[in-house]
């Protein structure tokens, strides 16, 4: 749930998503869910020439299971806070 909450704070920010089939997209984060499925608006395909299949798409829903990377602007993340929260979650889950 930690990263779900984290992504909710990034709604409306520009992000880049790279998929496990090497397709890369950029767009504005519209919504995210518990499976880290992502919906992007104003989507642009990074290598549009290579992927004409995707050029007519405006908004895109990406299944969480096919995401390899999500790139976010550094300014939009408080890395220390995130690291802290992750550490707390990991230590509290120990018996």
């Amino acid at each position: 749930m930690l990263f779900y909450s984290f992504f909710k704070t990034l709604v409306n920010k520009e992000i880049a998503v790279e998929l496990k089939n090497d397709v890369a997209l950029t767009g504005r984060l519209h919504s995210v869910d518990q499976y880290l499925n992502i919906k992007l608006l104003e989507t642009k395909v990074v290598d549009a020439e290579r992927y004409p299949q995707l050029t007519s798409m405006t908004s895109v829903f990406i299944r969480g299971s096919v995401v390899r990377y999500i790139q976010i602007p550094k300014a939009d993340v408080d890395v220390d806070l995130l690291q802290d929260a992750a550490r707390k979650q990991n230590t509290s889950s120990q018996p």
Binding site: N21, S31, D33, T43, Q53, S56, T58, V60
Partner: protein, 98 residues
Amino acid sequence: MAAALKEIVNKQVSILTCDGRSIVGQLRGVDQVTNVILDECHERVYSADAGVEQVVLGLYIIRGDNIALIGELDADLDSKTDLATVRARPIKPVVHSL
């Protein structure tokens, strides 16, 4: 999630499957695991040496496991593209582990 997808129900969508196929049709239904009902759908087979081949499929249920991406098609943009002139290498299949 259901909410994000429910917004595009009844719209024209293009689904990118995990094996690299593109299937275009009207999105009729979705569920929690992204199983999808696609009406009046056809597969667009892209090739590096020939234009796009469209294979009519009809009414399909696509299992969520096999779906990589669901894109809402802009009707204007789509009608402007002349599929006969489009050349593209196939999209790679999704690989979960290296």
